[in-house]
């Protein structure tokens, strides 16, 4: 939207991201975001009364995608550090929880705190090195990718972490809030997930409005200028990484408790990173609400497509029964959305509104 008149010589990490973003921040002083958040949570809380059990499985996946998208967006959207390895934080959250529950006998909630702590430490550590050594652009992006992959391989080679097997959370019959476990199909999974998402969104809003958040956005736009104005760029970027890693780790915990299983591929595989990116980008990078919109669109998409092909409408029966066609269709829709709305669905709406 803003083509700068000057050559962009910024060397901020993930520089590719910094161009042409819409940030729906700053100028609005209103309490708008908080109101929207409250309304969103209230409305979304009613979902289990409407949807069937198998649709609830999809709704829960929407929550996971959304939390991951919100997490990624803090670092990449607002912080300008294009991470291609958010699986690292997701995986750490998932493994810390699983390990805590299965091996240490901890409550999953403690596992979550553990996951957040490790994830933040890892994120800050690796990003400190990357930023300190001035990794920029695609090099930064690739270092995040490599970090997630290295973690995956580390887990695969680690006996204490059960190598390729991963962990299965023992099934308990009955409900327990403390143990974060409920009978299959219980709406409590959804409500807890929604609560977590609400808190992550709140964190995201607070971040963007806080001083560190605004300094981070400034540093994203131009880190040299930010430094010249007294902003400690490294510290603020690391802060954004920490918030982002913490949120993403929460998604990992929720994943483990809901699916009750995790292995290295699920936790640290490229698919997890891709999901975080797809969610945020399809919704709108660098906006508060983009990841939510993205999750609502992308998380159910593959189920919708698969369902469509399983029982095609009259006239389309010939489409059924071709393994892979559903994924092709999913891919086509993904590509189409991205090409037609490069600012994301929500991002496009925001920039339309801004203009008028």
């Amino acid at each position: 939207m803003t083509t700068t008149a000057t050559p962009r010589t910024s060397t901020s990490a993930g520089g590719g991201l910094t161009g042409r973003l819409t940030t729906d921040t700053g100028s609005q002083r209103s309490r708008g975001d908080y109101v929207v958040l409250a309304v969103f949570v209230a409305v979304a809380a009613a979902v289990p009364f409407v949807l069937s059990a198998s649709d609830m499985a999809i709704a829960n996946r929407v929550l996971i995608f959304a939390i991951m998208g919100v997490g990624w967006n803090i670092m990449a959207g607002f912080g300008g550090m294009f991470s291609f390895g958010h699986a690292a934080y997701f995986g750490i959250g998932a493994y810390a929880t699983a390990y805590g529950v299965v091996v240490l006998g901890l409550s999953p909630w403690l596992g979550m705190l553990l996951g957040i702590a490790i994830s933040v430490a890892a994120g800050v550590g690796i990003s400190y090195l990357a930023l300190r050594y001035k990794l920029t652009g695609a090099y930064y992006t690739m270092s995040t990718f490599a970090f997630a992959e290295a973690l995956r391989l580390f887990v695969i080679g680690n006996d204490a972490l059960n190598r390729t097997v991963g962990f299965t959370i023992p099934v308990q019959q009955g409900s327990s809030l403390v143990d974060f476990q409920f009978p299959a199909g219980s709406p409590w999974y959804y409500w807890i997930g929604l609560g977590l998402l609400g808190m992550c969104l709140l964190a995201s809003i607070l971040f963007v409005r806080s001083r560190p958040g605004r300094f981070t956005i400034a540093a994203r736009d131009d880190d040299v200028a930010a430094a010249a104005l007294g902003i400690d760029v490294l510290r603020h970027k690391l802060f954004a990484v920490a918030v982002s890693a913490a949120i993403t780790a929460v998604a990992g915990t929720y994943y483990v408790q809901y699916y009750m299983f995790v292995d290295p591929e699920i936790a640290f595989g490229a698919a997890a990173s891709n999901d975080a990116i797809i969610t945020a980008v399809v919704g709108g990078t660098g906006t508060i609400w983009g990841p939510i919109v993205g999750a609502i669109i992308m998380a159910p998409l593959s189920d919708v497509v698969t369902g469509f092909l399983r029982t095609p409408p009259p006239g389309f029966e010939w489409l059924a029964g071709h393994g892979g066609l559903d994924i092709i269709l999913y891919a086509v829709i993904l590509v189409a959305v991205v090409i037609l709305l490069p600012k994301g669905v929500y991002g496009t709406l925001v920039s339309r509104r801004r203009k008028s």
């Binding site: 939207m1 803003t2 083509t3 700068t4 008149a5 000057t6 050559p7 010589t9 910024s10 973003l21 819409t22 940030t23 700053g26 100028s27 001083r211 605004r214 300094f215 956005i217 400034a218 994203r220 736009d221 131009d222 040299v224 200028a225 930010a226 430094a227 010249a228 104005l229 007294g230 902003i231 400690d232 760029v233 660098g286």
Partner: protein, 243 residues
């Protein structure tokens, strides 16, 4: 009076190229130092070394007598030394006002105060009617002013200006010059400015340094330097006869 800012023996080389060779400059409290010199003489590089964008290969920078060589830019900014950039660097996803507000916040102003201060600074630098425009789509000249506005919002004691007048039509230079002069006279702000516009150099500088090929070629009052035959030959050309 002692020098507020003093750089001695600054050298800088990029790989093989020696961009600065032992440059000395110093500015006293409330004074304005003009830096002139041919393109590529090393003026911007000198700024970069002083403000911590990159460390000099050798030499020392003293601010208020304390050695600050190689300190990171953001620390120096908080010590009161702020600069602008020759090639503008706006926070392009933010409006003009927000850009300035960031600077005020960085200085320590809180919420409403930061906003009010930013508004004042924007008015003062003549950006009032642009306040709510995205800084990335500003015309070049306004971006120059924004550079200045952001720096001022930091309330610097020492201000380093890299060609803030470039790109302004002559009629629009005057208010900026007035502003700078006013800052020195009423607030006692110390400034170092790089400029190719001689009228401005004459009007503002208490002292002028002329650089050539990475070294100081001449120094003195504006009149002394600008009439120096070496300076005329290397730098002014016809301008001298015009002037």
């Amino acid at each position: 009076m002692t020098a507020v800012l003093e750089a001695t023996g600054i050298s800088k080389s990029f790989r093989g190229l020696q961009a600065l060779r032992g440059v000395d400059i110093s500015v006293e409290e409330g004074q304005i130092l003009g830096v002139i010199g041919a393109n590529g003489a090393g003026k911007t590089t000198l700024f970069n070394c002083i403000t911590g964008n990159f460390p000099p290969t050798s030499g020392t920078v003293r601010l208020d007598g304390a050695d600050v060589t190689g300190q990171p830019a953001h620390k120096l900014a908080h010590r009161g030394m702020v600069r602008t950039f020759q090639l503008m660097r706006p926070f392009h996803t933010m409006t003009v006002l927000e850009n300035v507000e960031i600077a005020a916040m960085s200085r320590g102003a809180r919420g409403g105060t930061a906003r009010r201060e930013a508004g004042e600074t924007v008015e003062r630098t003549g950006l009032g009617e642009w306040a709510d425009q995205l800084s990335g789509s500003l015309p070049a000249a306004m971006q120059k002013r924004l550079e200045l506005a952001r720096a001022l919002a930091m309330r610097p004691r020492v201000l380093l200006l890299d060609e803030v007048l470039a790109g302004l039509v002559p009629a629009e230079r005057a208010p900026v010059l007035d502003l700078l002069e006013n800052l020195r006279d009423t607030e006692g702000m110390t400034m170092v400015f790089i400029e190719h516009i001689m009228a401005a150099v004459r009007r503002l500088s208490d002292h002028v340094v002329m650089m050539d090929s990475g070294a100081v070629l001449a120094t003195g009052s504006a009149d002394e330097v600008l009439t120096d035959p070496q300076v005329v030959e290397a730098y002014l050309g016809k301008e001298a006869s015009d002037a």
